[in-house]
Each structure stands twice: as C-alpha cells, then as structure tokens.
Symmetry: C2
Subunit: 344 residues, 2 copies
C-alpha cells in the first residue's frame, strides 16, 4: 500500500506533544517558534522520515511554487539548451518547473496549458508551436490572472511578457554578409510568416536585399515550417525549379540540416554548388562538415530572462508591467559562407 503509511505533521506533533501548527511553523523556520523547539522538530522529522506533502501545502497556501513551461520540441539544440537554462534558473530561485512538450502540435499545446492551469502553476512560460494561430487559450490564461511569458516564438497577448532575440537584425546581418561576399541569387527558407520568428527573419532578409538593391525573387522565398523536413522539401523545390540560387538562408538550424541532407542526396556540394547560412546554432556545429556559419541566439540568456521575468510577475503580481525584451544576436562565421570558391 503505502497510501496510508505516510507520516504527517500530526504524527510528529503527537510524538512531540505539541500541535501540528508548531511543527508546521518550525519546519518553515517561522520566527514564532523557539530555537529549541525548531531543533527538536527537525530532528524528529529526520528520525521519522517525514516527507512534506506539497499538494496539501499548495492547496492550503494557494500557490504552487511552480512554473509551467510549454515548448514545441525537445530534441533539438535550441530547445534543449533553452530548457536547461530555464531549469537552472528556476533551481537557483527555488522554484520547480513543470515542463510539457507540444510536439509542434497546437492541440496538444492547448491540452498542456489546461493541465498546467489545473495544476495551478504560479506562472507560465511558452514558446508556441509552428502551427499555433489561435490566441484564445492564452487569453484564458491572462483572464485567470496568471503571469505569462513567451520565449522566442511569441504572441502579442495583452498583459504578457515576451523575450525574443533580435530576429530582424540578426537576419539582416547574415544576408548582408552573404551579399558582401558577392552573392546575389539568394533564397530564403522562411518557416511560416504567421509565426513571429518567420516574419521577423524574413523582414531582416528583405531589409538587406532592399538596401543593396537586389530584388527579392518570390520563387526563392519558400515557406513550409521550421523543422528538418521543411529544409529538405524547400531545397528539393529549388532544385526541381531549374533555377537554383547561389545562397540559401535557412530560418532555423534544423531547416539548414534538412538542406544538407537534400544537397547530399542530390549529389551536390556545400558550399561549392550552393552556399548556406542559418539562424540558430548547435553544440555540434563545429563537427559538422562543412560547419555552418550562423546567427547565434544566446539561449542561456533567453531561458534565464524568461524565468526571471516570470518570477518578477509572480512576486509582484499587478505591480509589474509586462515587458518585451529583445536580446542581440551575433554572427558566427564558420566554413560555409566564408569564401566563394567557385563559379565565374
């Protein structure tokens, strides 16, 4: 069983001939209780192997000491390092994280948010799926008065905070670098324009093209998602169109990997036949051949800020204005997009 075998506050109280209130307070270091009593309680708790019951504590105290997190994917560097940073920051702030993974599926996202609400998380951090279009669940979250912070893939929900990187600027830097290298025939695998990172990264691309007087070829702006499949299919479409660009800018690292796979399958070579750069980095990038030049997103800072922002809102509810923080990005140059080693 074990179900009734749990030791409760009352058990220790009885053993010590005090009330459970005393024990409860002692355990939480309440100043009401004398040093000796506190000592004694703690010792007894050890001896009896008491484990507090957070469900009871939370129900009674009306908060859970918990932040809910919803992210689209986990087995990709961007998200796994983001999560690691979120966990770390929460740990140092004595908060628990309840993580859920939507698998890029917006229905699942909604289910998870509902669970998290039912678990009475004190705050919510979310990065929306690539197919999320509907705001209503997030408005419900705000209506319940729960602090809500979006990371990277954001929505503009009144009362919620957002923390993103400078997508537009980063994208601009990348394209400008490619142009300076001499590329003119530039394609962009652009995710989805309905998702902020898709839109903003496209805008940065467009900015750079315009500034340098290069017209954007609509056939070379290909939407289709933020995952490997999108990169693979995108490249195949370019290939089959018979009009290949010299350079591809991929909206995410996974999209770039999809391109790598497709290029290899087509019997072509990066960067000789087509060059590439992407938004986002990876821990194994240095081992990949050719290693990818990219726009780096500081995931550590993204995660840390997301938690801190949320915590701020939790602790000073109603007092803190929602914030919109944008973190700068930097170009990391590796083997791709570094020299033009071919064509006339």
């Amino acid at each position: 069983m074990g179900r009734s075998s749990h030791i409760t506050l009352d058990d220790i109280a009885k053993r010590l001939n005090v009330s459970k209130v005393t024990v409860s307070k002692a355990l939480r270091g309440h100043p009401d209780i004398s040093k000796e009593t506190t000592q004694l309680v703690k010792k007894t708790v050890q001896e009896m192997g008491y484990t507090p019951n957070y469900m009871a504590r939370n129900l009674s105290s009306q908060h859970s000491n918990t932040i809910g997190v919803v992210i689209p994917k986990i087995a990709h560097f961007f998200f796994s390092s983001l999560i690691e940073s979120i966990y770390d920051t929460a740990f140092h702030n004595n908060y628990e994280i309840i993580l859920t993974v939507s698998q890029e599926n917006s229905e699942r996202e909604i289910k998870h948010i509902e669970s998290l609400l039912a678990m009475r998380v004190d705050g919510l951090i979310v990065s929306i799926t690539q197919q999320t279009r509907d705001h209503t669940i997030f408005e419900r979250v705000k209506k319940q008065g729960i602090p809500l912070t979006f990371v990277d893939r954001v929505f503009d929900i009144p009362g919620s905070s957002t923390i993103t990187v400078d997508d537009r600027g980063g994208s601009f830097m990348a394209i400008e670098h490619a142009i300076n290298l001499g590329y003119k025939k530039i394609a962009h695998l652009a995710g989805y324009p309905e998702i902020n990172i898709g839109l903003r990264r496209y805008q940065g691309f467009e900015d750079a093209m315009k500034l340098h007087g290069i017209p954007v070829n609509p056939d070379w702006v290909i939407y289709g998602g933020f995952g490997e499949e999108a990169g693979y299919r995108g490249f195949m479409r370019l290939l089959n169109s018979g009009n290949m660009p010299e350079f591809i800018f991929a909206v995410t690292y996974p999209v770039a990997l999809g391109v790598y796979a497709a290029v290899e399958e087509a019997g072509l070579k990066i960067p000789d036949d087509v060059d590439i750069m992407c938004f986002g980095n990876s821990d194994v990038n240095r081992f990949i051949s050719p290693s990818l030049s990219c726009v780096n997103q500081p995931t550590d800072k993204l995660g840390k800020t997301a938690v801190e922002l949320t915590l701020d809102q939790i602790r000073n509810i109603d007092m803190v204005e929602p914030q919109h923080i944008e973190i700068p990005t930097e170009l990391i140059l590796r083997e791709t997009c570094s020299v033009i080693s071919r064509r006339a």
Copy 2:
C-alpha cells in the same frame, strides 16, 4: 488578485442547483450521472470558464497522476530523445511528467527526488548522475512504497525495475568489428567503472579483446567521466603518453565528440591518425565529419518501456514484480572504423 477569483465546483453546483458531487462526477464521466445532467454540467463549465484544481483533486484522491523523472543532462541527444519518448508515452497514457535535471550532480539529484516525493508523484524514473555512489535516497523512495524505475544508468535497489540496453554485448560487437578490421592497439575511454554503463561497456570491450587474444593495455583504459571534457582529456593523455593507440572506443557519444575536438587541436586526422567508434548515436551524426560508427541505443524504446514499466507498477501496486529489461543494440557503420586507409 486572481487568487480568490477561481471558479470552483461549488460555484457551478449552485448555479445548476445540484450538489458539487454531481458536478464532480459529471466532469469525470462517472456512470452515475444521467446524460442530460452531464451535458448540462459540461456546458456550464465551459460558459463559466471553470478550471479544475488538481491540487485539491490529488489531495483528496491520494494520487497525482504524475510520474517524476530525474535525469543527469538534457542538452545531449541521448537524453533529449529519451525524454521526448518518456513524454510521449506518458501523454498517450494520460499521465503527466514532472521532469527534473540533476546536471550530473548527485546532491542536486537528491534534492530533486525529495521534491518529487513531496509532490507525491505516483512513480519515479531515474537515470543516475555519473557521480552518484550513495543508494540511501533510493532506498527511502522504496520505503515510501513508490514505484521506481531506473533507465540506462541504473542501481540495483531491491524492489526497483531497471531498463537498460545490452551494454556489454554492444560494446563487444564494436570492439570485435574494430579487431576484424585489423586494429590491435585499442584504447577505451571508459567513463567510470562505478556506473553500470561504464562497467558493462568495459566488460564488453574486455570480452572481445580476450576472445581475440589481444592483451588489454591498462594505460589505454582511461576513466574520467561520460561527457565531452572526459573525451578531450582522455585523448590528450593518450597523446602525451607518447604511445598512441590506433583505435579508440568511447563510452558515450559526447566522449567521442571530446576526442574529435582534441584530435583536431592536435592537428591530427580521424580516421587516418587514429580511428574511433563509440557507444550511442546522435541525430546529427550523419552530418559530422567523419561520421561516427557507433553502437545504437534505441532511446524510443528505452523511454517507452520505462514509462510502461512504471505505470504497470503504479496500477498494480504490490502485484507486479520489478522487472529488469535489457534492450538489444545494433552496430551502425559510418565513415569511421570502416577501412584502414593508412599505416603499414
């Protein structure tokens, strides 16, 4: 505030002029309640924007519908894909996962387990850190009657289940393959022998060496951990010893990456100067140069089985014997360890 603004069962009950028990039952689809009442309740719940309170539900029903997970690391393919599989399986079984990350730190591991116990998770899945040596926390878990399943990095705790891959056999296959290719000077970066995967993978290595009559050179069995740093330092030690092996078998994929970094820094080339293979795969392996031949661990199956085993124990507590499942591995041959392209 929002704190008192939550709608409760009682609120809907009053509105409908029924008791909250009726509402509670209707919501959970209890057969007691008539179709019409159930319909009506569900409609009202929608209208009023009711969100159930799991803390209250759990406290009352004495279970949390939740499995706690403790893993050492998240931003590495093995763990992130393991977690993805755990989440997926839990989702399909209508269970929540509460994930914690120990960061390879055994004190943190203990803290997390204590939190999870306090949260009254129905079961626990853990993969121990590389520095965990002490069993007591796990014995405490068992004493509390909580189903406990270890994945991959396991302890032998009475009453707990384990799910591992065939570490010894996989390791054996890898070494035998290298030997058949003609290698005799074989080193093993072996993790830590106190952790099962370290021990078992070493044993497989030793088995193969013995079988083929090749003596194990103790200088070529290097311990030091399961992460990249361990691979880096391990290779540097080999390099500086002045007695370089022809072939290195790395206990994990990250260790192999550490070797890659060190080899490059030393101005050497894989596989010409030193060849390598490792235990464990990665999603980006095919893009890495040279791509790594490895022993594949089916993380999907590991995660799925871990959850199912735990669920079994939860649902039939006291009725189910703890199990010890070992999943077969397979060799995946890529560019390393495929032909000997050099030396006399």
